[in-house]
Symmetry: D2
Subunit: 342 residues, 4 copies
């Protein structure tokens, strides 16, 4: 509710898909200091349609054109994962602040190039680990950093999506690169200062077994050991019948903190068949406020030239765990971090 005396931050949005549309709404309507200036998406008509919906004055099929536009202050990247790192580099080199959806990169080389590009350009680089902006996870993190649970000993992070829409389109290792990457970041964030030692992962195609042959893994458990002794478990599945299930738990020498809600509202219905509550059905419901808050934080970092709360280094650290998990599944054994990040 602060005054907006200075000009808004002009944003180019790269990607007009589902998450791109959400961020477009936030930028156009929910974040006073931001102005959604242009939407870019190579898909036929996608940028134009989204621009019409949110009242964005310009659109283009060419992300590069939007990135280099000198009237643009910041770039929000919500494109396919394989294009992320190159777009971050291009935006940074154009001197723009950059928000990039997770994963920021698929290889450590890519990640390093993105980090260096942002550093060299002196621009803010924020990555889309939205759980860090969810009120319950944030409160849990505050408890941990305030010493409220002592030294972490056991951690758990869970992600279960409500449904696997098009199994044939899911790239191999998506469960690590795009889903569990959230959990990896959450576990690193909730075990502050600790470094991972090794990773063991098992996975299977239980939701859509027919696609296992083509590389789909839809269910996984990952165990991570840290140098402070803590042992973390991350768990993902692509089809939760009851909705969208994201939880975190940190157990330590002085207590435990948990985060994650299943109930859609506080409404409870009592009948002869018991007590019933409705569940949260999707990420846009569960993380509506977190998605908005992370974008508002990015705009704030862009305007004030401050270090974002989630940086390229965080993206790289989570990627290291994803790469180790992938290697572990391939090798059928625990994989020391040094094997993937020498």
């Amino acid at each position: 509710m602060t005054a907006t005396t200075s000009a808004p931050t002009r944003v180019a949005l790269i990607g007009a898909g589902r998450m791109g549309s959400f961020h477009a709404e936030s930028l156009a309507r929910r974040i006073p200091d931001a102005e959604l200036a242009v939407i870019a998406d190579p898909a036929d008509g996608a940028a134009q349609r989204l621009a019409a919906t949110v009242g964005c004055p310009r659109w283009t099929g060419d992300p590069a054109e939007a990135i280099v536009d000198p009237s643009i202050d910041a770039v929000v990247i919500v494109a396919p994962a394989r294009t992320h790192a190159a777009l971050v580099v291009a935006a940074a080199q154009a001197g723009k602040a950059v928000f990039c959806e997770k994963p920021m990169a698929l290889t450590l080389d890519e990640a390093d190039r993105a980090i260096v590009a942002a550093k060299d350009a002196g621009v803010a680089l924020q990555v889309g680990f939205n759980r860090r902006f969810a009120a319950d996870f944030r409160a849990a993190h505050q408890v941990v950093t305030a010493g409220g649970i002592g030294t972490p000993q056991l951690l758990r992070s869970v992600t279960r999506d409500p449904g696997l829409a098009n199994p044939e389109r899911v790239p191999p290792w998506t469960i690590y690169r795009e889903t569990l990457i959230h959990d990896f970041d959450a576990l690193l964030w909730l075990n502050p200062g600790a470094r991972p030692v090794d990773v063991y992962a098992v996975a299977d195609a239980l939701v859509a077994p027919a696609y296992k042959a083509s590389g789909l893994l839809d269910t996984s458990v990952v165990v991570i050991r840290f140098d402070n002794g803590a042992i973390a478990t991350a768990e993902a599945n692509f089809s939760a019948a009851y909705g969208y299930d994201v939880r975190g738990e940190v157990f330590g020498s002085a207590g435990m903190v948990t985060a994650g809600a299943h109930a859609q509202t506080s409404m409870r219905h009592y009948t002869a068949s018991g007590i019933r509550q409705q569940t949260v059905r999707g990420d846009a419901a569960l993380f509506h406020d977190a998605y908005t808050a992370e974008m508002a934080a990015f705009i704030g970092a862009a305007r004030n030239d401050t270090t974002p709360e989630v940086t390229g280094h965080d993206a790289r650290a989570a990627l290291v765990l994803a790469l180790a998990a992938i290697e572990s599944v391939k090798a059928g054994r625990p994989v020391p971090i040094s094997e993937v990040d020498a």
Copy 2:
């Protein structure tokens, strides 16, 4: 997320206080089809300050000027309660759709004049009973209207504010006219089709006993009997140490439904002294989404010329219960509805 091809609804906001500021933010930023065109408040500088904050291009100290402005489509009234009804009449007579914060009126005559004015002008008139737009109360209402609890037999509605800031400024009977009026509406809404028969109320000044002599009542319990046999309890207090406490409960022949949340987030902290959750501290936190949704619904009704979900008749019905409760406190006995609304 629908396209906004037509021009936005131009809104005049009357009142730049705390709730006025919230609605100003909603109109300026959270509701795509609305345009906050002018803010009016007689208090020195208040309108101008709020206009600067939310980027509203015009302001005035004269509500009447804003209301008659022919470029204005709708008026949102968030002024002191005693001015509400006259402002509703003026806005309706100027042909504007009207949103009026509760209570819409302090007497039945006022309420009737407001209702008639809106009807004669053919404009939408919506009243600020925000609980009807809170997700949990809404889900509870759906259960009731779907027959999920059978016939209502016992109802309860609770409002406990986190703090009584300036007891010397609280007008007499505020607890009924401005606080319990929410509960009265909720109880009428959650017992659909039933009519109240009589009302018994007791009250005291327990939070700020020093102000009892000057008419302050800060704690009250009200019992309402309905013509379907249901018995309802409404309860209010002006100082809940743990935060903002709003709950509803409907018990019927086939079950029960409850609404109302105390926890601020799903975070739970477990230590040697037990499990701890943080509580919701204020109405702006608890009802952020409901306040926004009621305003969006109003803009929708204004644009589409549909009957709002909460009408002047609803305001009048809740007022009848408030008047009966006040009469009951004065008389020390149950008061038949016919005594206050012949």
Copy 3:
């Protein structure tokens, strides 16, 4: 787990109905220091059947015989309410410690006679207000007495039975004398030191309206004002579709405490139709441990000649509220306590 070196307390049980059977099991099996020596019930064969079930060596159709038996140390009265007071007097005069199910008496004269008889005989007299022995209510009471909620301002007590089996057999005013008497005691206990000022009650036959003409009232709300300013609500209904619902709430100047569980176990089942928990279906499930604990406490008081935690005075105080509530329903107005207990 204390040693049982001394002889067990020999108990006569008067009444072999549902609650009598429960207490018989407790005395025979769950309370080491007690010995169930005789069961008396005038109903044909009832005492004998229960004696066989629990392994009690003697039975009789004549309560008086059991009471005067010199080998008996204590009498547990679980007979029809109208016989309670006279049985208490007889047992006290025979020098036995007495446990009497609620209500101990139906009139104040009866109550006074019972109290005086116990006092004159110097025997322990405990009344069956089992909520005082329920772990959650007990924890709530500890919070209140430790000052954890400051000064009580608003209280609530709820009793909803799962079903009304034989409406034709329910004596008039049962809802006050036998059901809400629990709530009256709970409210007095949870507002320590305060005295009731007046009582307002409304009631109806909503569960079994056909029996209203014959005096059945199955739904009631009662409002009690106390001399410390606190306002209490008690609420009862004879047919909760979802099970057995007993709750307490005390709100005060420094916070709130609540007690009462709906879920049968911690099990939660999540499916596409939401989260489901099973509910507690009956009092024997909800209060199993409380019923046992109150009986163990009685045996302890009988053995150690200490004042029981729930005395005849407590029974009388709750009865006063029941009588005032009955008078209020008859008169249709609030009834000062002085009207029923001059």
Copy 4:
């Protein structure tokens, strides 16, 4: 509440420690069909002291004497783990029904000998996996076996003890043999019909690091893959600051079921510092009813010559997982079940 016409089952209790004392109380007082006839414990005075406490007429320092006593019908073994299997064999060969606390055996040879002995003697053999008798776990199991969550895909079982009293006395591998053995059984029971494929375990001494050198492991995470594709996680720690934490979770193709309670009672205390609930502090509080129910079930099986709900085969199956977990910790890699149980 059934009649006890036939003679009670005469039980010899082997072991007068903490759990032995609990079972002694159950046998002496809470299970009508049982008679605690003798207590045996080689520790000086232990059997005699417990016998005095629970009113058991006989005691001895020699378990063998109690086992061969022809007047004894059943033997309850609560001795140190290393003695379990031999005691089971001795009791079975003496023709007694046998209840053995977990772990029934420390090696597969021992387990096989115990199973064969019971089979050859035709006696009931029940093992102390008490979670199977806890109401919440039982309800969860019923949901799973009724198909309420579809096919299990992810399971979790957690055990966190409130405190590690004497780390110097904890034998190596206790966390698997005595603690996680419960979780292993729970996971096998909650994934009915599935067979484990391989096991990966990591462990550390985080609670009492000074004892790591002497073999203490107080924190562990175990991952088990099953032949139906399900992946299970078991997790244990010896020092939970907030009390005793036992939880189970089964996620499947059609939903999820969870069991496990943290709150001691339903009491909630709301203050300016939030909502507070007390936690369950120990196993005797959490599993009081489950411990009693498993013993009652054993007595029932002994009397009716039926197969117990938890058999020697179940003990062996859980032991296989413990042995694989131990091997995995030693080898630092996942261990196929075939490696420990060819």
